[in-house]
């Protein structure tokens, strides 16, 4: 018995996920725009879990649905189908009061600064403090701290029309962070900023994530800040194509590199392979694959251990024990034969699986890579 999840292997959900509470849980979310004949689906069966203190970067071409998903998580759109839990609150069917209350725990940073021209930088930021009824001294301290950190210490009492575009954007960043939100949703927060202030903004994000367990979800195309991401979610055509925990992805790549047939692959290709893998789990005693069944999947053991059992016609014997980081199931795929052994889980185990088609395609790439190198070497000599 194995349980297949809808989550990709790289999501890191099944490794150490249990220790940290999830602040955002997206389960089977579909979304549609328009009415009647004009109705078109913008999101297709999306699953995503984000942990407390994680910095998630969402990427994808425009129209891929990342903004729609972000607005859904941010309670700015009504959930139509599926389940969406934010900070433990189910948004599907939530009342306006519940949503207004929840919004106070969120911080928004929009691409446009949306500052009131009539208010100073300080007053604009303070609008966020007033809503959560922060004490005046405390809010004043935090506003000054944030604006000073963002290089606006001299301009605390300036109005937006006395500030440059980048400075306005930084005021908007301060407004999004000042009330210590538990989730920050940001749309290209660094697009209008120079290198230095962009870096200061993401450093603030990291501090909030590490010190306060604040979850940061941002849409960005700014490659300068990709390094802060704990997880990168790629969307395409309304669906999450890849959900890679940066840490977990590198672990998988390391494991895959151990597999001789993949050892020649570049890190980029290995990452792509990792993204194609799905998660399966098994409890002690579960049969993962059975001898003589057709081979469909290649398995990588993420955690746990399995026994390899071979039935040679007369008796059954355990030929080997495989552990974390080891793999099985490749022989049947390479030779296109039935399984030559039965695999039984010895304890609770997590596997990352790669489908047959993806596996053989990857092998082909590995081969062509080898040929390429041979070609290169040949032509050099």
């Amino acid at each position: 018995m194995t349980a297949t999840s809808a989550f990709p292997a790289t999501s890191g959900m099944f490794v150490d996920g249990a220790q940290l509470p999830k602040t955002v849980k997206v389960g089977g979310v579909n979304h549609y725009f328009g009415e009647g004949e004009l109705r078109s689906q913008a999101l297709f069966d999306n699953h995503l879990e984000v942990r407390r203190g994680e910095i998630v970067i969402m990427t994808g071409p425009s129209g891929s649905g990342k903004t729609t998903l972000l607005t859904l998580i941010g309670t700015l759109r009504t959930v139509q189908e599926g389940s969406l839990k934010v900070l433990g609150n189910e948004l599907n069917g939530a009342s306006r009061d519940q949503i207004n209350k929840l919004r106070r725990d969120l911080g928004f940073i929009f691409q446009a600064h949306n500052l009131f021209g009539s208010l100073t930088a300080h007053q604009n930021v303070n609008m966020a403090c007033e809503l959560v009824e922060m004490e005046r001294k405390e809010s004043d301290r935090r506003i000054r701290m944030l604006l000073e950190r963002l290089g606006l210490g001299e301009r605390i009492n300036y109005k937006p029309d006395q500030l440059s575009g980048g400075q306005k954007q930084r005021v908007a960043v301060a407004r999004g962070l000042v009330h210590n939100p538990r989730i920050v949703l940001a749309d290209e927060p660094t697009a209008a900023l120079d290198e230095k202030s962009g870096r200061e903004v993401v450093t603030l994000f990291q501090e909030m994530a590490n010190d306060h367990g604040c979850t940061i979800i941002m849409v960005t195309h700014d490659s300068r800040i990709l390094d802060v991401a704990d997880r990168i979610v790629k969307m395409e055509g309304g669906k999450i194509k890849a959900d890679s925990a940066v840490q977990e992805t590198s672990v998988i790549c390391e494991f895959l590199r151990q597999f001789p047939l993949f050892s020649s692959l570049t890190p980029t290709t290995l990452t792509e392979v990792a993204d194609m893998m799905r998660v399966e789990t098994a409890e002690a005693g579960d049969v993962v694959i059975r001898q003589n069944d057709p081979g469909e999947l290649f398995y990588l053991i993420r955690t746990g251990a399995v026994d390899v059992v071979v039935d040679d016609g007369q008796k059954t014997r355990t030929v080997a024990e495989l552990k974390e980081g080891q793999y099985f199931g490749e022989a049947a795929l390479i030779r296109d034969e039935p399984r030559n052994a039965t695999i039984i889980a010895k304890e609770h185990s997590v596997f990352y699986t790669l489908g047959k088609a993806d596996f053989t395609r990857t092998l082909g790439r590995a081969a062509s890579f080898r040929e390429e190198i041979q070609q290169a070497l040949f032509s050099r000599s």
């Binding site: 700015l76 759109r77 306006r96 207004n100 009539s118 300080h122 609008m127 749309d187």
Partner: protein, 398 residues
């Protein structure tokens, strides 16, 4: 600048941020205020002129025939009732007041100003009774002791009564006839015209009886009075005396205090004639104009800040906050628009009073009426415009 924080006064800040826009907004609201003040002013002026004669009378309590639905209705009651009123405790004195309109026609016989006979209100008083407060009459009371003399109201309609008003000698020399009897105009006094009366004469009761003997067929023309004017003793309470009179006196008359009499007369003109409706319509138009202006101001303020408001919504600000915000903005607009509006109106009142002779006065109740209307107008348009704000969609910000 010191950092002062309670609630950020966003309504005030947004309103005063762009002074050009504020100036235009205030000009618009001030204009609506002016429109309403003009209507209220004219209405009050016209009503005031209807009751000017009451205001000029001296008494505290008035006896009025039950059939007399307005001052201009010639319904009378016996002099005996006035005498009876005089004997009631607390009454210092009760005096008759005579007036005549249907029989009273004044014809100018001056060679170059000759006219046909036009109706004019003749007022007859016992010269020694304290009936009229008007200073110009009291000063000339002795002139009226000669029979066949009268004072003419300086405000009498010029086209009908073309007498030399500035010059008493020339006036006295002008030949004239009242009810086909020769009359000598010995001076002028100051009362004013109204809807029913184009002019006024005041004379002694004796002269009055001479001019209008047919007032009472087969009897003393002074035996029926138009009003009874009651002077209450200094130590008596007017309301008590009124109640006592009302209990004692014949059912043919109403017993009114000054306010009651005045209110009843105003209410007749307000409700029983089209005047009230005309001015009501005027006020409604002012109100609507103001509402349109105010709506435009608030709506464009909202429309220009849609993404900012949507951001506040995303932050978790509730509908209630936005409604309060707009109501406060509307009230502020009303209050600061009212100030220039009422100042300009005050000036206009002066100009109009000078040119029309109407009593254009900015009274506290009138100003309060307009202020309340202005507030209602701004708040109503704010509430109409707030729907736009509530439609702000934070999802559009991404």
């Amino acid at each position: 600048m010191p950092v002062k924080l309670r609630k950020t006064p966003l309504a005030w800040k947004n309103l005063t941020h762009d002074w050009r826009r504020l100036a235009v907004a205030l000009a618009g609201i001030a204009f609506a205020v002016l429109l309403m003040f003009t209507q209220v002013g004219f209405q009050n002026a016209l009503f005031d002129s209807q009751v000017k004669v009451i205001d000029d009378l001296h008494g505290d309590i008035f006896l009025v025939s039950r059939a007399k639905y307005t001052l201009a209705a010639e319904k009378r009651f016996p002099l005996a009732l006035v005498k009876q009123a005089a004997s009631v405790p607390g009454v210092h004195g009760a005096y008759p007041f005579y007036s005549e309109l249907t029989l009273s026609r004044l014809k100018n016989l001056s060679p170059n100003r000759r006219s046909k006979a036009f109706p004019i209100r003749s007022i007859g008083i016992q010269l020694d009774d304290p009936v009229i407060d008007t200073q110009s009459i009291r000063d000339q009371i002795d002139k009226l002791r000669v029979r066949g003399t009268a004072l003419i109201d300086v405000h009498s309609r010029q086209a009908n009564f073309d007498f030399p008003r500035d010059d008493d000698k020339a006036l006295a020399a002008s030949p004239a006839e009242l009810a086909d009897k020769s009359i000598k105009l010995v001076g002028t006094f100051d009362l004013g015209t109204d809807f029913a009366h184009d002019g006024n004469l005041v004379m002694s009761a004796e002269s009055f009886a001479d001019f209008f003997p047919q007032r009472v067929p087969f009897g003393d023309p002074l035996s029926v009075v138009d009003l009874g004017i009651v002077d209450v003793s200094d130590d008596a309470d007017i309301d008590d005396v009124r109640d006592r009179l009302d209990a004692v006196i014949d059912d043919r008359v109403f017993v009114y205090t000054r306010e009651q009499f005045r209110d009843k007369e105003v209410s007749f003109w307000d409700t029983s004639t089209p005047i009230g409706i005309v001015f009501f319509a005027g006020k409604v138009i002012g109100f609507i104009v103001g509402m349109v202006i105010c709506y435009q101001v608030i709506y464009s303020d909202i429309a220009d800040h849609m993404s900012e408001f949507a951001t506040l919504k995303a932050m978790g600000y509730s509908r209630g906050y936005f409604i309060r915000l707009i109501v406060v903005e509307a009230v502020l607009l009303a209050l600061i628009g009212f100030v220039p509006g009422s100042i300009v109106s005050y000036g206009l009142y002066h100009v109009l009073a000078g040119s029309t002779g109407l009593l254009m006065r900015m009274t506290i109740p009138a100003a309060l009426t307009v202020l309340v209307l202005t507030l209602a107008m701004c708040v109503a348009s704010g509430l109409l415009a707030v729907r736009k704000l509530l439609s702000a969609d934070p999802a559009s910000l991404f």
